[in-house]
Symmetry: none
Subunit: 144 residues, 4 copies
């Protein structure tokens, strides 16, 4: 048997609250999703004004970052023309997102879940996701 | 042009809080989803212990109830063999749920969104969804 | 944070070996899948002669049993006409399987994964799945 | 009538064992899939620590390599901007994978199946897939 550490619903609430606060600060209503370490959704919030196309984008960004144990922005670089993972964005029925805004959440060096943000520019989505991770970790971004 | 009345994120929070309180009271951790009047997800929460197969079931129950403007339990009756809507459960790629636990949310006689609950028995899911609606409406179930 | 117990790859191998032995004993080549407690595939084997339509059926039976924390045969009863969960077989894009042959695997009272078997009759699939669970648990079936 | 030569479950076991040994040697837990010459899954193993986003990636890499009768890395080159197959990565619902790590398995000049590996870098995935093929063939990579 394996012993796994996973975000609980309170952790998810802190991630979302931290992301929401940053989204309000920059004035961009966001869709914010939190998945557990297995990629299954724990919590989701679409702020008033968040984009409908961003609902599943946020969920899938969180799923992707949790799975690859890196930010989706890193996968975006690897997906560029000429790069070895070019074309990976179409895999898994398109759930593999290569646009910034998804981050893994780590605890004691293990990925325990992820957060995904969408509705702004990729840079804004990433900034808001980082604010969520920071709110939980209070110390560092927890990126692998 | 149409003017639409729709649940906002605060309303969604009240619906989820009411459902969560009932779920805690009956001791069944639930997946709880809230959609707007267009069937798009506003908020979701998987209580610690909520079932992974219930994540999309809760979302789809809320989507279904919002769309049909009735509880999913009513659709369940219409889906029984011999009934006119028998087989409707397979439509929309299986998103049309015919199991109790999804309810529309009404305001001034208009459907403004929905709530979907899953992880317990159909009766428990419905009870928890009703508690969510009651918490928002404070007066009645708001079922169409 | 939550602490989760999960099947490891060695556990999965024992489940499959136990199921395979029973399949050989009854002379029915089977597809056998093992998922973790989050419904994600750990291991799969299609015995020579296993049916191609049973590949995803076995995987989805294991996913379903893991998620609902019951055998898929129990869901099959609840899915019968007149029952409260009639129509649930079409949910989750059809991944919710209501045919016998999927069982959760429990350890210390917690669901730690699942096993799904397909290619024989539902009764044979269930018998083979039970043999897998017994091989791991050596004591009881571990059904919730 | 056609007579088809196809990997059996023992061959699949050798492919997976060879790949697993290499994965352990380089210290990267992998998802490893083996498909038959028709692209249908024979066997799958997610080593402890293999990535959840790599489960279907490994299966789809094996499916792709079996189907195109070339390594997925070759398709990756053909998928680059300016190349004739650019955009092929989105076909088949995204199952056509253009990232290294999938290889066909040949016997007597015929493709008899495939192997797909995922969780590391594309180069690591390919190295591990090649080790699987080598373990079965004992002589050469069997690439078409």
């Amino acid at each position: 048997m394996l012993t796994i550490t996973r975000l609980d619903i309170d952790d998810a609430g802190k991630l979302i609250a931290g992301a929401r606060a940053k989204a309000q600060e920059i004035g961009v209503p966001m869709c914010i999703a939190v998945t557990d370490e297995s990629g299954n959704l724990i919590a989701f919030e679409r702020m008033d004004g968040g984009k409908i196309t961003s609902i599943n984008l946020a969920i899938d960004k969180s799923f992707t970052a949790t799975g690859i144990q890196k930010g989706t922005d890193a996968l975006g670089e690897a997906n560029q023309p000429g790069m070895a993972a070019h074309g990976i964005s179409s895999t898994l029925g398109g759930r593999m997102v290569t646009v910034a805004g998804g981050l893994p959440v780590s605890f004691d060096g293990q990925v325990v879940g992820g957060i995904g943000v969408s509705s702004g520019s990729p840079a804004q989505d990433l900034e808001v996701a980082q604010a969520g991770v920071s709110a939980l970790c209070e110390v560092e971004l927890g990126r692998v």
